[in-house]
């Protein structure tokens, strides 16, 4: 029985329980994620991080939340009041929704009912997630626009440009997964990775997804939309109190959501590491929860690691990287994958497949060689001559000028 059929038999009360669980787990994860991020980044900078509230500072997120809730809720006079209020709600709502199609465990028994921990299994589950993520961007754009202030507007614009361009790369990296698994349903994609994870089979896709998911969530080094140094807080500069808390919540849930999606699509979802498949039956199947969240935490750690290591990119470099590197590479890679897939589905002889693969490798090598030599030639061009000005100037290095011409 497939997961879709299994979930289809859920009674109404079980769906409500699952929906509630998704909400609770998301909020709790956010609290732990904020704490975890601050602690890990602190260690990377040889600090301790929050350690005052609760054991090891675990309740820091809760304390911050209470503080935010008790603060004065400001709405600037220049703000578009209705949109200003709706924007954080859109952001926070959208980020919760993407969790509905993530399969968190295999078949388990919950309150005596055989089911799987996944709220619903759409046949176009991954597309649904992409759509929801795009709706989340509306929250950011509208927040920037409705604040009636310059920095938020710039932040909102940057954010929309960023998310749109990186969503293209992200969508393209997912196409290879769709081609290989033959489905867009999350549970079937997980099932298709029983033997080999797609992170191995479709390694370039995985890399492109990993990069674009950082761009998609507005995180360092791609956090241009809320660049503290340049835009104060970006789109949420004018927000305070609970509205700000909603944006904060949305950001962290988004991180967890894209990590969960990466886990599902590339790291075999809730399945155990290869060679440890026997653990999936422990605790009546509930042990798969450990595997799933272990992988999500692994991705979360990568997020934190990136933040601790890399400086923020310049905006033009960032856009150039998205449009001129990630998207063309994705397209090229999809063409190769689809050709290979068609070849194997049509039952082409092994020779043809090998010839095609080696042909591709050869072309890539030749192109990169040509690129390198062109670059070398560009470098070997002698320095251009310094123009001789007609007025007194300091002597430039490499200039023959001793005295100015009068």
């Amino acid at each position: 029985m497939t997961t879709a059929e299994l979930i289809g038999q859920d009674p109404g009360w079980l769906i409500v329980v699952k929906a509630l669980l998704v909400f609770i787990v998301c909020v709790l994860l956010t609290l732990v994620a904020i704490w975890g991020e601050r602690r890990i980044v602190a260690r990377m900078q040889m600090r301790l991080g929050p350690n005052r509230v609760g054991p090891m500072g675990l309740l820091q997120g809760l304390a911050d939340g209470v503080k935010l809730a008790l603060k004065e809720d400001l709405i600037p006079a220049a703000a578009d009041k209705i949109v200003f209020i709706i924007a954080p709600i859109i952001s926070a709502t959208a980020c919760f929704m993407s969790f509905a199609v993530i399969p968190v465990t295999g078949p388990v028994t919950l309150f005596g009912h055989k089911t799987a921990m996944q709220l619903t299994d759409l046949p176009v589950g991954v597309l649904y997630i992409l759509a929801i993520a795009s709706i989340g961007v509306y929250g950011i754009v509208l927040a920037g626009w409705s604040s009636g202030s310059t920095y938020p507007l710039l932040g909102g614009l940057r954010s929309s440009a960023q998310v749109i361009s990186y969503e293209v790369a992200m969508g393209l990296s997912l196409v290879a997964v769709f081609i290989y698994s033959g489905s867009m349903s999350t549970s079937e994609i997980v099932a298709a990775q029983q033997k080999w994870w797609f992170a191995v089979v479709l390694f370039p896709s995985f890399v492109i997804y990993a990069i674009s998911m950082v761009g998609e969530t507005n995180r360092a080094p791609f956090d241009l939309a809320e660049a503290e140094g340049e835009l104060v807080g970006g789109f949420h500069t004018e927000y305070s109190s609970l509205k700000f808390a909603l944006f904060f919540l949305a950001e962290y849930i988004n991180i967890v959501a894209v990590s969960a999606l990466a886990t599902t699509l590339f790291l075999g979802g809730y399945h155990a590491l290869p060679g440890l498949t026997f653990t999936e039956r422990w605790l009546g199947g509930w042990f798969t929860l450990v595997w799933f969240f272990g992988k999500v935490i692994f991705f979360f750690f990568i997020f934190v690691w990136l933040r601790g290591t890399l400086p923020r990119m310049r905006y033009d470099q960032f856009m150039k990287f998205g449009w001129k590197v990630l998207i063309p590479v994705s397209l090229f890679w999809i063409m190769i994958v689809s050709t290979l897939r068609v070849l194997s589905l049509q039952g082409a002889p092994r020779m043809v497949v090998v010839a095609f693969a080696s042909g591709v490798v050869l072309i890539v090598l030749l192109v990169s060689l040509a690129f390198d030599s062109a670059k070398k030639r560009a470098e070997s061009i002698p320095e251009r001559e310094v123009p001789v000005p007609s007025f007194a100037v300091p002597k430039l290095p490499g200039s023959e000028l001793e005295e100015p011409r009068g």
């Binding site: 890990i40 260690r43 990377m44 040889m46 290591t309 890399l310 007194a392 300091p394 100015p404 009068g406």
Partner: protein
């Protein structure tokens, strides 16, 4: 235009002492290789397991540097008389106007310090003090020094104005609480020369006679 005049603007290197430093030309070497760039990730990862620099302050108190500028102290002579002569030089030296001194004359019945005058009122406002130490430099009798005590936080303005009794050094072994007469046979010059090393029994007796 005058042909033989030199228009090139160059720093006079020997004037700036620049010749002593070997100059290094800094060129743009271009982007580093991918592997070199990845090394940064390893550096950050390794740092996670290093010892943290944080001092967990309220629980762990590390000693300050020996000459740390902390709370002030009004010192005493070895027999317990105060060193402060109420000259107000510290107050005049203070750039933050944090010190207030009122001097008064010593009498034979009530002597607080050797010599003519003593500081009757002595206040330091720690809301104004910038701990620069100019007052200590100004003090002619070494009456005012600084301790290493730095926990001065308080919750009211009034309690951060330290009075003379808050600032006075405690009585140590062999010291007597003033007012009391000077060491028999000694005058204030002897005090400043360090001839007085402890109190004399006669100084104590006169204290009891006083009322």
């Amino acid at each position: 235009m005058v042909e033989d005049e030199d228009f090139s603007i160059e720093p006079i290197r020997h004037d700036l002492g620049l010749e002593a430093v070997q100059s290094v030309s800094v060129g743009n070497a271009g982007p580093k290789s991918f592997g070199t760039q990845l090394q940064g990730f390893w550096v950050i990862f390794r740092t996670m397991f290093k010892k943290v620099n944080t001092v967990e302050y309220p629980e762990v108190k590390e000693p300050t540097a020996p000459r740390f500028h902390g709370r002030h102290q009004l010192n005493r002579h070895p027999d317990g008389l105060e060193k402060c002569i109420g000259c107000e030089l510290c107050a005049w030296a203070c750039p933050a106007d944090a010190i207030y001194v009122e001097g008064a004359s010593n009498t034979e019945e009530e002597r607080m310090s050797p010599g003519e005058r003593y500081g009757k009122v002595y206040q330091i406002n720690y809301l104004r003090c910038i701990f620069c130490g100019l007052c200590i430099e100004a003090c002619p009798t070494r009456a005012l020094t600084m301790t290493n005590e730095y926990e001065l936080a308080d919750d009211s303005r009034a309690s951060l104005i330290y009075e003379k009794e808050d600032l006075l050094a405690p009585l140590r072994q062999g010291m007597l609480m003033p007012p009391h007469p000077m060491y028999p046979g000694m005058d204030d010059t002897n005090y400043y020369r360090g001839d007085v090393t402890q109190s004399h029994p006669s100084q104590e007796i006169s204290l009891e006679v006083k009322p």
